[in-house]
């Protein structure tokens, strides 16, 4: 009779148990992760469809620091109206309807808010599941009371940043959203302090007439190249995880700098924009023969006004009053020289920026990526072969 190898059998049994345990654990984790992904999808749907009204507190990082402001928000069926109660936008309303966003200035203060009357076609945001899954990892991290309601807290980490949301357990509407950058610095944070889901969606209103001086439209890169009078470049390198969304043409017939071109990339939740426009030299003697038409006339008129302005009393280096030293000359920056100095780096909202003049094209890269990555994109910009 053959002897049973108890030792081998024991080792095999232990190995099998460990393997089963590992598989079981992995399965559980996957289930939790999938649950979080599903919650994120439901949150995106709720943002579009759920009718809700209440008060929010928002903190946003701007180049000068953080700003906190409060607002009344009413949203539903893809529309919203936000009435700002404090902060730089106090008294203004921002509307969104059918993919268009516009600003309504303060009442009885038309002149002061003339410049704030903006309008943009932002389109309808769609969740791209593959891109989101590839770049962002979401997990459920707990529960929390927000605005007097129970929420499930979901945290996602992506390439150089994180997003934390507190989703209402009944509607999945995000009652809290916090975005942070690569160094865990706050980008923006919004929390509902009062919330009412038992409301009708905001009424449909007529948006103001479109601004004639600016038109943004989605076009192919070929159409972009055919529409502008400067060389449109394409990045040959983009950081991993970012995918080209689409090209846009921003036509500005009245603007001295002419049309702009934008290549927009996405990591599933955030944009990376590469903006291009023709380089317009500042020296009138140098470019008077280079460009023709209304843009050039406008530019020359502006330059003439600037020169007249500098010759007016109160500017330049006027003789001082009796017994006083004349004021020191004002420090000015030669923008042409600045442009030709090479890449410049700037702080912005939702992403920092770098710019560079490449032959006759000014290229500006804005996004939540590092300065080195922005420079590398600029290094790799190339024209059509």
């Amino acid at each position: 009779m053959r002897r049973i190898p108890w030792k081998t059998a024991g080792v095999t049994a232990i190995a099998a148990a460990v393997a089963m345990l590992a598989l079981g654990t992995t399965g559980c984790l996957e289930e939790v992760s999938n649950d979080a992904d599903e919650l994120v999808r439901q949150a995106a749907r709720a943002l579009q469809q759920t009718s809700v009204k209440g008060t929010v507190i928002t903190t946003v990082r701007v180049p000068e620091g953080e700003r906190q402001l409060s607002a009344e928000m009413h949203r539903g069926e893809g529309r919203f109206v936000i009435h700002y109660l404090s902060g730089p936008a106090q008294g203004t309303k921002v509307h969104r309807q059918r993919g268009i966003v516009w600003v309504e200035g303060r009442e009885n203060d038309e002149e002061r808010d003339r410049r704030r009357r903006r309008q943009a076609d932002v389109g309808e945001a769609a969740l791209e599941a593959d891109l989101l899954r590839r770049n962002w990892s979401f997990t459920v991290v707990g529960t929390r009371q927000v605005g007097g309601r129970s929420t499930t807290v979901v945290r996602g980490t992506g390439p150089g940043g994180s997003l934390t949301m507190a989703l209402d357990t009944t509607t999945h509407f995000p009652l809290h959203m916090s975005r942070k950058g690569p160094d865990d610095e706050l980008i923006s944070e919004t929390t509902w302090t009062e919330v009412d889901f038992d409301v009708e969606p905001p009424p449909i209103v007529d948006p103001p007439e479109r601004r004639e001086d600016r038109r943004r439209r989605h076009v192919s890169v070929e159409e972009v190249r055919a529409s502008v009078d400067f060389s449109v470049l394409e990045p040959t390198w983009i950081p991993a995880g970012w995918k080209l969304d689409r090209w846009y043409l921003v036509e500005r017939p009245q603007h001295p700098m002419g049309s702009m071109v934008e290549a927009r990339y996405s990591d599933g939740l955030r944009p990376l924009t590469v903006i291009q426009r023709g380089y317009v030299p500042r020296d009138p003697d140098r470019d008077s023969t280079e460009r023709e038409g209304p843009r050039e006339e406008l530019r020359q008129e502006r330059e003439q006004r600037r020169l007249e302005h500098e010759e007016r009393p109160g500017r330049g280096d006027p003789p001082g009053p009796e017994g006083r030293e004349p004021s020191p000359p004002r420090v000015t920056y030669d923008r042409q020289e600045v442009s030709e100095m090479g890449p410049r780096h700037m702080r912005g909202v939702g992403g920092d920026a770098s710019r560079r003049r490449i032959d006759g094209t000014m290229v500006i890269v804005i996004g939540p990526i590092s300065e080195q990555q922005r420079e590398r994109i600029l290094d790799g910009m190339q024209g059509p072969s």
Partner: protein, 156 residues
């Protein structure tokens, strides 16, 4: 109004302290004068930096701690010889910190103030719109930026 008159009144203008007539004069000038607008933008940025901090409640035992530290303490005789040296070291360290702070501050500052204007206008608007086209956008934060953008004209 001339530029100098307007610049002299920009602080009051920003704080809404001007009378209607003067304010109208300033606004009429600002509408035409890019340099004075730039002055106003710079003043607004400075004003933002000077916003008062939130009041913080002092800890309950703060005063007793301060009082205890205010009471004279007699140093041991063997430590007395060290005091001038310690003061000198403290002064040198403070000066070093000030110099280092200034150096770092100047080094960390962007080379061109125009850079801020650049991104605060057309390009910043473009990027805000791009953020809005993404799912799960923070509408309240983006709306505040969008409505608060300052159009600074044709910056390079």
């Amino acid at each position: 109004m001339r530029c100098r008159q307007v610049c002299d009144r920009l602080t009051e203008y920003q704080l809404d302290l001007l009378e209607d007539r003067e304010r109208a004069g300033v606004e009429a000038h600002l509408a035409e004068c890019a340099d004075c607008r730039a002055e106003l933008v710079a003043l607004q940025k400075l004003d933002g930096l000077l916003e008062p901090m939130e009041e913080a409640e002092a800890p309950a035992n703060l005063w007793s701690g301060v009082k205890r530290r205010m009471e004279p303490r007699r140093a041991p005789l063997w430590q007395l010889w060290r005091q001038p040296a310690r003061q000198a070291i403290a002064v040198a360290a403070a000066m070093l910190l000030v110099v280092a702070g200034l150096w770092l501050g100047l080094r960390g500052r962007p080379g061109d103030p125009e850079d801020y204007n650049l991104l605060a206008s057309d390009y910043q608007e473009q990027h805000v719109v791009a953020q809005w086209s993404q799912p799960l956008a923070d509408d309240a934060a983006l709306g505040a930026i969008y409505a608060g953008l300052y159009d600074t004209g044709d910056v390079q």
